[in-house]
């Protein structure tokens, strides 16, 4: 299976909102679409999913135009909600029918995902306890009685009910508490392990970095950086240096020409030009009998790459 997005573009009047976007997923994994607000991520996703007419380009799934007919798609939109007055179970059944989930499997799948996402208590009326016979039966909760996080879990269930081959998640973790964030991450990991194709859009770079194999960074409708995340990082080299010492090493840092980013109680974040410059600083410290507790030389984070790439464009402006 493969997903190929080629030369996708869209204009509103004179304004280009997505400028000839191309990327592909040859194997299962997570592809990240990153960008600042208004960069064109959501518009690109809507065009990929066929919800918004494109002015040019094509989206192919296994060589065929991507549509709900050619591909089983699960989508968690950035703008989220539920029908406030309809029961949760009715809504799940409705979406299952829209996604052509076989009737015989709907209940089973709802039960599975309710357990997985820990929302059973909101979907199923609890059984009456002993000695409670004759008392009014407790009803399942309505959507407006759920917290935002729990509503988000129900929406995630809706996206996954049809056991989709392609899962598109637009800011999936926004607004979740740490416990539920971990729950979502766990589900995403499982879906990756099951060979699913995921497209994820997020502002939480750490989360994206945790899952994605390939990325596209969009800035003002254009792709400014694209490719395999590891290779992109490698291309930057190991330029981040974290140092922890027992004494002040500011004079040695200045002497070595390394850029000091921050310092807190002898913990330093430094930017080096290359590994040689880092090694030279380490040598200088040893030579001067400075005890080094931590010496960690690493590639730049996705956050740094993103800020650098998007920042470049804004600086020009």
């Amino acid at each position: 299976m493969s997903l190929i997005v080629s030369d996708l573009w869209k204009k509103y009047g004179e304004k280009t909102v997505v400028d000839h976007l191309s990327f592909s997923m040859e194997k299962p994994g997570v592809y990240a679409l990153l960008g600042t607000n208004g960069a064109g991520k959501t518009t690109a996703i809507r065009m990929i999913l066929g919800m918004l007419a494109k002015d040019g380009g094509e989206v192919l799934w296994n060589g065929k135009s991507l549509s709900p007919k050619s591909c089983n798609i699960g989508y968690l939109a950035e703008e989220r909600g539920l029908y406030p007055k309809y029961s949760l179970m009715d809504q799940l059944f409705y979406f299952a029918s829209l996604r052509d989930v076989p009737k015989s499997q709907v209940k089973e799948r709802i039960r599975y995902w309710a357990k997985k996402l820990e929302v059973e208590e909101y979907l199923y009326a609890p059984l009456p306890e002993k000695g409670m016979r004759g008392k009014k039966k407790e009803k399942p909760r309505m959507p407006d009685q759920l917290s935002k996080g729990n509503q988000q879990k129900i929406q995630f269930m809706i996206a996954l009910l049809s056991d989709p081959e392609l899962i598109v998640l637009d800011e999936p973790m926004s607004g979740l508490d740490p416990v539920n964030t971990d729950l979502f991450k766990q589900v995403i990991r499982e879906e990756i392990d099951r060979g699913k194709y995921l497209i994820m859009s997020s502002h939480q770079m750490a989360t994206v970095e945790e899952f994605c194999t390939d990325i596209t960074i969009l800035d003002r409708s254009k792709a400014v950086l694209q490719g395999n995340l590891n290779e992109i990082k490698k291309s930057y080299g190991r330029v981040n240096l974290s140092l922890k010492t027992e004494t002040d090493i500011a004079p040695y840092i200045a002497q070595s020409g390394v850029v000091l980013l921050s310092e807190k109680e002898y913990e330093y974040r430094l930017k080096v030009q290359n590994e040689g410059q880092a090694n030279a600083l380490l040598g200088l410290l040893i030579q001067n009998d400075v005890t080094v507790i931590t010496f960690d030389l690493s590639e730049p984070s996705l956050h740094e790459i993103f800020v650098e790439k998007v920042g470049e464009g804004h600086e020009v402006e």
């Binding site: 009047g13 809507r46 999913l49 919800m51 918004l52 709900p68 007919k69 798609i73 989508y75 968690l76 939109a77 950035e78 703008e79 989220r80 909600g81 539920l82 029908y83 406030p84 007055k85 309809y86 009715d90 409705y94 979406f95 029918s97 829209l98 996604r99 929406q155 809706i158 996206a159 598109v168």
Partner: protein, 435 residues
């Protein structure tokens, strides 16, 4: 923009879900039950005010009537008792004559004789203080009726023939100038038919707009649209809703009518409902319905369907132009403006019996929803004009559906203050120009 089958895939699922939720809604069910109870109660209440109750028919104080028939015609005394229920407990004794002097309280004697001048009926009452003048008149009429029928029957003329012979008729005398000046126009009937049909269309249109706008805005403000549209096209989404509301509303109206007739039938077992029937028939509507035939039902149904589709698509568009439930009122007002505007105009049309006005009101979009079937039923326009009217109405529905298809997605995704009709049309023009 061309429609394809894919644009409507999933319509059935939206239809089932929407209809199910309408039927499941407690508010809908409570208002339906209240309405049905009011309708059911309206018949006995009307019967109470309009006609004499069967239970309140007071028995005549006449205990016994001696009938002396010297004519040879066989009078059916049972008929007198069944024709006028006040005599149900009165005993009729045939072939017995009684002199007025010997009649006791609650007794009467009827003597029918024949002489050279014709027939004579003499009614004598025993004690006048007990038997009222009204009762005397009723007995007189009942006896006259029975005697008349007996005479007809002797000639071999039975019930149905008698009804035919005794049916009323009007005679009019006029001169040539009277004929030329005569106004061959029954304003009351024309107005009544137009008024009743307009109210029906207005009720259906306003109800449909309220339901559709509410459903559409509820969905839009729930922020579920994007998750829905990955599985279904916008046109299927709105079509399913319109059809579901149509079935729900038509079902509601059918249940109203059914409950009315059931109540009428049940009330008729205990009370006199002839007053209600008389009121309806005396309104003059039926005398003018010259086109009553089996074709009338499809005429009304097709006209109502076209009217419903016009206003429901318009409601769908206006509803989608809202972003929150707070704006529902504004959208409802916009549709109500169209419906009430057309309704008010149609109420004045019967006042101007001009042929061109009948044709114009039957062909003019929106107005024709209220007027075309009425003008056809009243005989003011013929079948070809009615068909042309339907064609124009179908064209309007098609135009609105195209407009809806063109902008529905953009309206669904739109977030901001409610768009007015002028903004919606501008959006459609921009979409067209961008192609």
């Amino acid at each position: 923009m061309k429609w394809s089958k894919n644009d409507f895939t999933g319509t059935g699922k939206v239809f089932s879900f929407t209809l199910f939720q309408q039927l499941k809604s407690k508010a809908n069910m409570v208002s339906l039950v209240i309405m049905l109870l009011l309708i059911a109660a309206s018949v006995p209440v009307m019967a109470l005010f309009m006609g004499d109750s069967g239970q309140s028919v007071t028995s005549s104080n006449l205990e016994r009537v001696y009938l002396c028939n010297e004519t040879g015609y066989e009078i059916d005394v049972e008929r007198i008792r069944t024709e006028d229920l006040s005599f149900a407990e009165t005993e009729f004794l045939s072939d017995e004559s009684r002199h007025p002097d010997v009649l006791g309280e609650g007794e009467a004697a009827v003597t029918i004789t024949e002489d050279a001048s014709g027939y004579q009926i003499l009614l004598s009452f025993g004690a006048l203080k007990e038997v009222s003048k009204e009762e005397q008149t009723r007995l007189q009429k009942a006896v006259e009726q029975a005697f008349m029928i007996a005479r007809y029957q002797s000639l071999g003329i039975f019930e149905e023939d008698y009804a035919l012979l005794s049916s009323p008729f009007d005679t009019r005398v006029e001169t040539v100038s009277d004929y030329l000046e005569r106004e061959d126009y029954d304003f009351e009937s024309q107005f009544w038919v137009q008024y009743v049909y307009s109210i029906l269309v207005m009720t259906i249109s306003l109800f449909s707009s309220i339901y559709i706008i509410r459903i559409v805005v509820e969905e839009k403000s729930s922020k579920l649209i994007e998750m829905l549209m990955v599985s279904i096209k916008p046109l299927a989404l709105i079509t399913g809703k319109i059809l579901a509301v149509m079935v729900y509303l038509f079902g509601t109206f059918v249940s109203w009518v059914a409950v009315y007739f059931i109540s009428y039938g049940v009330t008729g077992l205990f009370m006199d409902v002839s007053g209600i029937k008389d009121t309806i028939f005396s309104s003059g509507a039926f005398s003018s319905l010259t086109h009553i035939d089996p074709f009338l039902i499809p005429v009304v149904l097709i006209s109502l369907l076209l009217g419903y589709l016009t206003f429901s698509i318009l409601s769908g568009i206006f509803g989608t132009a809202c972003s929150s439930m707070d704006e529902v009122e504004g959208a409802n007002t916009s549709v109500t403006f169209f419906v009430l505007g057309a309704y008010l105009v149609t109420c004045f049309i019967p006042a101007f019996p001009e042929q061109w006005l009948s044709v114009f009101s039957s062909l003019c979009p929106v107005l024709s929803i209220f007027c075309a079937p009425v003008q056809y039923v009243l005989g003011n326009i013929g079948l070809p004009l009615l068909l042309l009217s339907w064609l124009i109405q179908a064209g309007v529905v098609f135009f609105l559906a195209r407009l809806c298809g063109k902008i529905y997605y953009d309206l669904l995704m739109y977030r901001g203050s409610r768009l007015k009709l002028i903004n919606i049309l501008a959006l459609a023009r921009r979409k067209e120009a961008s192609k």
